[in-house]
Amino acid sequence: MSILDLFKRRTSAPVARERLQVLLAYERRSRGQPDLVSILREEIMAVIAKHVQIDQDYLQVSMDRGETMSTLEIDIQIPNKSAVPLAMAG
């Protein structure tokens, strides 16, 4: 690395181009299609509601898109049965 490299500014336009290309490739594919996350959320909610009563707010569904792999995160909080009478007693 020469001393001059220290003064070279890393250019940001190529980063902008790459980010846009990745994002738009995804957005174009999903255009006109219903939102996957909200469909999953509804269906998961329906399955759980068959067995346990939970509030809408206790179910969190989120998706993190990566370049090669995406992760789906589902966070369900089920209140303990014992907690209900306790809370009522308190």
């Binding site: 250019t11 940001s12 336009a13 190529p14 902008a16 181009r17 846009l20 738009l24 006109g32």
Partner: protein
Amino acid sequence: MGKVVVVTSGKGGVGKTTSTAALGAAVAKTGKKVALVDFDVGLRNLDLIMGAERRVVFDLVNVIQGQAKLSQALIRDKRVDTLFLLPASQTRDKDALTEDGVGEVIDKLRSVFDYVFCDSPAGIERGAQLAMRFADEAVIVTNPEVSSVRDSDRIIGLLDARTMRAEQGEQIAKHVLVTRYDAARAARGEMLSIDDVLEILSVPLLGIIPESQDVLRASNLGSPVTLSEPLNNAAKAYLEAARRLEGEDLPVVVPFERKGFLDRLLGRRAA
């Protein structure tokens, strides 16, 4: 039958109204009859950019609701006598526009004028969709900047899906107009290049308008830059873009900035 051109972008503040005024005036100067229609109901500004803000009596909503005739609402430009403005309403909201009403007005304008430019509001909601609904062609105004390019891509998707032409299985001719282009910054790799924008959007280029103080001055004075200062760079770029819009095969020259001494010394490369 005249041609209906929507000037749109998705993102706000990229230069739709300025470009509508500049392109419309440029086409009208060649003797064509041109109508500029402001679709930004509630936030009209085309009248101000055209310097006609004190001459507005009736507007698009009045015409649609039958309170005024189209001929009463059209304002003739004082500089170019083939140039007319149909202002938006300032007091109503965009729900005052109906698709049938807009369609009727556009049909009437199309039968009288050679060109009808529809200045779209920002966003992708009802107002923007009505502005593009009856268009034959679209000018997509884009700044070389990530959020503007992303929104332009979204608008292109709507143009291909929600316009009358698209629904009838016809093509809507699309053109990208890059505004606020800073050649020096692009050369330093700090701004998306024209090639980047075109490659990402894959829509042909109508023109490149350089970032210019003259455009702001023209707005201050209430005159399209193509009329008030036709010799400056931004105006020249608009005049050429207007000729391309009329079908002339005119090559686009990307504004070039010579590298400064310091850039060469430090070996900064354009990306």
